[in-house]
C-alpha cells in the first residue's frame, strides 16, 4: 500500500499504490476472465503475481494466506 503505483496516472488516475495496480488490472480485464476458460489460470497467475510482488517489492517474507471456506 505504501509503494507508489507503476501505472500511468493519466490513464489510471485511481491507482495510487502498487496495491491499486492489481485492482486496476482486475477491473480492466473483468469481462474476459470470469465465466470463461481463462478464469482459473488467470486468477492463479494474479494471486501468484501479488504474492511475488509482496515478497520482492515489499520485503514480505511470508506466503499468501488462505481463507478456509469450510
Amino acid at each position: 500500500m505504501a509503494l507508489p503505483s507503476k501505472l500511468d496516472p493519466t490513464v489510471v488516475p485511481g491507482a495510487k499504490s502498487r496495491y491499486d495496480d492489481f485492482v486496476a488490472q482486475h477491473i480492466n480485464q473483468t469481462l474476459t476472465i470470469h465465466g470463461t476458460g481463462s478464469f482459473l489460470s488467470w486468477h492463479r497467475y494474479f494471486v501468484w503475481s501479488y504474492e511475488t510482488a509482496l515478497r520482492e517489492e515489499c520485503g514480505y517474507t511470508g506466503y499468501q494466506p488462505v481463507s478456509h471456506l469450510h
Binding site: G14, A15, V23, S41, V47, S67
Partner: protein
C-alpha cells in the same frame, strides 16, 4: 482502510458507481457480512461435491460448480465467498480493493489444486469460451491463448504454462 478504485458494479445499498472505470474515488472500504450466504454455499458438502462428487467429473463440471450456477440459484464457492464478505468485495470489477480477495482466491486456487491432484489425467485441461458465461457465444478458450497480467513480475504466458503449480515456469508451490 482506503479504497481508491471502484465501485464499478456495486451490490450494496448506498454505494454509488464511479463515472469511469479508473477514476480516483477514495473512500473507506465497505463490507456487508452475510451469514446466510456463508451457511448456504460455503459448506463441506459443496467442497466434497467439487473435489470428489459428481461436480468433480470433468474440468468443465468442476469449474461451473465452483463459479456458480446462477440460473439455478446456486452461488458456488466463488461467488458465495465474495458475497459473504459483501460491500466492495461483492463488486465484480473492483472486488480486489478488499485484501480478503486474495485470501479467498488463494482458497479457490487450493480447491482447484486439490481437484487437479485427484484427477491427474485431467489436471491440465481447460473448459469454457472467451466470453463471460459464453454471452455472446464465442469460440472455446485454447491452451495457446495468452494471459496478460500487466505486472513486471508476470510476463505474458500461454494458459498451458499456468496449469501446473509445480511447472516451474513460473509456479513452484503446493498447498499444505
Amino acid at each position: 482502510m482506503v479504497a481508491n478504485l471502484g465501485p464499478i458494479s456495486p451490490t450494496m445499498a448506498g454505494q454509488t458507481k464511479v463515472n469511469s472505470s479508473f477514476a480516483h474515488n477514495p473512500r473507506c472500504l465497505k463490507r456487508d457480512l452475510s451469514a446466510y450466504t456463508a451457511s448456504s454455499w460455503l459448506t463441506t458438502t459443496n467442497l466434497v461435491n467439487l473435489t470428489l462428487g459428481n461436480a468433480a467429473s470433468t474440468i468443465e463440471t468442476f469449474q461451473n460448480e465452483l463459479q456458480g450456477r446462477f440460473p439455478q440459484g446456486f452461488l458456488g464457492l466463488h461467488a458465495a465467498g465474495h458475497f459473504s464478505i459483501g460491500g466492495d468485495a461483492g463488486d465484480l470489477f473492483s472486488s480486489p480493493v478488499d485484501p480478503v480477495f486474495f485470501l479467498h482466491h488463494a482458497m479457490l486456487d487450493r480447491v482447484w489444486w486439490i481437484w487437479q491432484a485427484l484427477h491427474l489425467s485431467q489436471a491440465e485441461t481447460i473448459a469454457g469460451t472467451i466470453t463471460l458465461f459464453n454471452n455472446p457465444p464465442s469460440r472455446n478458450t485454447t491452451l495457446e491463448d495468452t494471459i496478460y497480467m500487466g505486472q513486471s513480475n508476470a510476463p505474458v504466458r500461454p494458459i498451458s504454462e499456468l496449469l501446473n503449480s509445480l511447472g516451474d515456469s513460473p509456479f513452484c508451490y503446493i498447498y499444505l
